[in-house]
Amino acid sequence: MTAPAADHVPQRSADRRPTHALVASALIGPILAVAGVLLTYAVRDQLPEPVAVHWGPGGQPDRFASLTEATLTAAVMTSLLPLIFVVLGAAWHPSARGPLAGFAGALAVFLGGLLFGSLVSQRPGEVAQAFPPAWLVPTLVTAAVVGVGLWRWGRFRPPALEATPRSLPADAVRLDVPDTTRVAWTGHAALPDVGVLLIVLVGVTPLVIVAVLGMPWLLLLAVVIVALLVLTGSARVVVDAEGLRVSSLFLTWSRVPLARVAEARTATVSPLREFGGYGWRIGRDGRRGFITRAGEALLVERVGEPPVVVTVDEADEAAAVLNTLVARTNT
């Protein structure tokens, strides 16, 4: 009996890159920790004892520890904190591994650079502070490069579409329109204004207070946070002949071509339980979501990939438009 060989190939083994990226991200922390310990050991004679481990808002050190203790703390934090995201990545759907590997890798570089940077900058003749200027920019740039690199390397490549046309389930909601009618749907998903205001108050007020107290550069951080909130707090949702598109200004969160849509339907979303929060999220089963509230949402099942979920009003209408367009491409 000759069984088709393709049946024996498990689908998941097709692309190991998400897993490789995750493993790489797990190694960055320990490697940087070892390098940091060696660097600190090499300059130990020039460092004070005890060393400063914390700086107050005025830029003056307010907490000290022995060099051994400070080095050990830096090494443990650099190696272990990023592992939280690696563990999540291992437990979640493969499509979540790329983004989580990027996050873990960037966090490892950030922690390693700033923790060991603030230690070795206490040599005579260098500017000692929580974020030593000579370390800050290189650390942030490297963290960004490593994060984006791991993310790209580990991004999920959906399996190739089969040549045979799929057919939409018979019970999928559809519009009752002639084939000559062009149909499209536009809508938006936005965090309630009260919610955005609350986040701004809770998140930015402490930054502004500290900034006024003597760290003016934190104001810039506050402005960046508010800008990010405004940018990521609402999205335009479009269904047309190209498929589904979810985007905020110049950022496209998700683009699902019609050929990749298996079926669109409505779903009821519970933000905290299913996505752990609001905004652009990845669920543990790999589903992507632009989540701004609980309740009615458009759910788009994809071919060979986890679904995409967007909280919009009149989701049934959006689903019907998408299904209608998909059904037309099948014939």
């Binding site: 002639p178 062009r182 479009v238």
Partner: protein, 118 residues
């Protein structure tokens, strides 16, 4: 909101686009202060000329249903398409329904005329 136009219909495209907006208004899905998608976006999703959508938006402004401001786009100022506008929206629906049931324009006209004579 749902957008639908039929290029094979004898109704001009800009009238059909405006009818989409009126339909949302009469069904209560568009409220005062809501912003319509930009004309560029609508033109893109329906694959029609930008000027077609602009013309539709201008006719809605002429009916005092939306406010057109540079930079702000089209903002809904009233949600009750009155008189002629409402009639046009109803006729658009009627014709759409007639297409579905295979009713010819002549049959539909006859039906309307008999309704008038009641």
């Amino acid at each position: 909101m749902l957008w639908r136009v039929d290029p094979t219909s004898s109704t001009p495209l800009h009238v059909q686009v405006a009818a989409c907006v009126r339909r949302e208004m009469t069904s209560g899905r568009l409220e005062k202060g809501d912003r319509l998608p930009s004309a560029k976006e609508v033109a893109g999703v329906l694959d029609v000329n930008l000027h077609t959508v602009l013309r539709a938006y201008q006719s809605l402004r002429d009916e005092a249903l939306v406010d057109l401001r540079r930079g702000r786009g089209a903002v809904v100022t009233a949600t009750d398409p009155a008189g002629d506008a409402r009639l046009r929206s109803l006729v658009a629906d009627l014709v759409a329904e007639a297409r579905l049931t295979g009713t010819t324009p002549t049959d539909l006209t006859r039906l309307i005329e008999s309704e008038f004579q009641k």
